[in-house]
């Protein structure tokens, strides 16, 4: 029987040194067993590598930055929908989720489906609110404090010991060993991502990640834990291995059960030398290493699309342990006309 072909739009085509998840999500969708795909890339910059990967992306349209406002994004999506008849959109950047969540209902009435966390879930898990989140759901989180003013930095040593983590509200984190370093990172990160800055207790240990999918009723549809094996100077996993840690899976199931999380996610966890797990961050979207989940038997993007379309999805029960991903960089040769097309006309 011929499979249905879905027109799926995907963002975060920036497969660069700090990679967006888009290209990995697309690779997963291309391997979906339950549908065929036509992939529409949604880009912010003309040099996002995914734009030029024509074996993965059928057509790309530029979209406005979130700072341009929800109306601009909606207008652009309307135009793209007229041309491409979109069935599903998978946004993959933290910073764009707010406008997409706000537009979810409106887009659904036009036949465009998404499967995103609710606005409440999105706000509640924000790293600014992580202390309250941990208390509310009984999940261990490192102590953290939100600061808006450089002058308040001097009081930090009475509450935190060095080193401490200085984090941006969306991205970036640095380890500070002195007040001078805290000040320097405060300025650097706030200039890029704005205020507030989050100061977080440093937990000594090993970092792990879990990716998965919640169906919005508290059920775990998918969960795959991974240990980073090779970490770049930007803290990104360039190699990792699937593991089997019941404590991590229990924490993941608890997170999904108690929050009734809807959509894909990535939990950033730290295990200290006593084996205690701390939840460092909840990323409200699929991670760049999502293709490992496909490689171990859980095609999470495919399941997400089926949930978005209101189809019944059977939860994954197991996955292969000890399977690795090793990332690599690849130079593509691109005609200047293609660059011109996406830069000047916003379409390729």
């Amino acid at each position: 029987m011929k499979k249905q072909t879905l027109n799926i739009a995907v963002t975060a085509l920036n497969a660069i040194d700090s990679p967006g998840p888009g290209v990995s999500v697309i690779r997963a969708l291309k391997e979906a067993a339950s549908f065929d795909t036509r992939i529409i890339g949604l880009s912010y910059e003309s040099l996002e590598p995914g734009i030029y990967m024509h074996d993965l992306v059928d057509r790309t349209y530029s979209i406005p930055y979130p700072s341009a406002g929800i109306d601009s994004l909606f207008e652009r999506l309307l135009y793209i929908h007229e041309k491409e008849k979109l069935d599903v959109i998978i946004p993959n950047f933290d910073a764009e989720l707010y406008p997409f969540i706000k537009l979810e209902h409106k887009l659904k009435t036009m036949g465009i489906h998404m499967f995103l966390p609710t606005l409440h879930q999105f706000e509640e898990r924000h790293k600014v609110n992580l202390n309250d989140f941990g208390k509310k759901y009984g999940i261990s989180v490192p102590k953290s404090k939100v600061i808006y003013d450089l002058n308040t930095v001097h009081s930090l040593p009475s509450e935190f010991s060095f080193p401490m983590i200085v984090k941006g509200k969306f991205y970036d984190a640095s380890i500070a060993y002195s007040i001078e370093q805290v000040k320097s990172y405060f300025n650097k990160i706030s200039a890029k991502w704005g205020l507030p800055i989050i100061i977080q207790e440093f937990i000594h240990g090993t970092e792990f990640n879990v990716t998965g999918l919640g169906d919005g009723t508290g059920k775990t549809i998918a969960a795959v834990p991974m240990r980073k094996q090779y970490i770049t100077d930007k803290g990104k996993a360039w190699g990792g291995i699937s593991i089997s840690d019941e404590k991590m899976l229990d924490m993941t199931r608890k997170f999904l059960r108690t929050t009734k999380w809807r959509g894909g996610f990535e939990l950033e966890l730290m295990k200290n030398k006593d084996g205690e797990l701390y939840l460092l961050e909840i990323n409200p979207r699929l991670p760049a290493w999502i293709y490992l989940a496909v490689g171990v038997g859980q095609n999470i993007p495919e399941a997400l699309v089926n949930l978005a379309l209101g189809k019944k999805v059977v939860p994954f029960k197991d996955y292969t342990v000890g399977k690795m991903f090793v990332r690599y960089s690849w130079d593509m040769i691109v005609d200047r006309e293609e660059f011109e097309q996406i830069s000047m006309y916003g379409e390729l």
């Binding site: 090993t206 291995i241 699937s242 840690d245």
Partner: protein
């Protein structure tokens, strides 16, 4: 002590702990000892087995063996034998 059940040991000497994702490499004698530990042999049985096969004296082997057990313990790869009262 015995090797944790879920720790995988390949013929080439690569150990993989599926809970932590850590990998270690050991030499061929290390593999032999790990297999003896997995079969739940006692320390004395392991001494006998190795000393019968290789030309080394017991005190040298005991010292190396304790070091090896110390490293395995530090990396959380061993568990105690289950006590049986039957």
């Amino acid at each position: 002590m015995k090797l944790k059940k879920n720790v995988a040991v390949s013929e080439s000497g690569l150990l993989f702990n599926p809970v932590t994702g850590e990998s270690f490499s050991v030499n061929p004698i290390g593999v032999e000892i790990l297999n003896l530990l997995r079969e739940e042999n006692t320390d004395e049985q392991i001494y006998s087995s190795i000393l019968a096969k290789y030309s080394t004296d017991k005190s040298t082997f005991e010292k190396d063996y304790e070091d090896f057990i110390g490293i395995l313990t530090h990396n959380n790869l061993l568990e105690k034998h289950e006590e049986t009262n039957a």
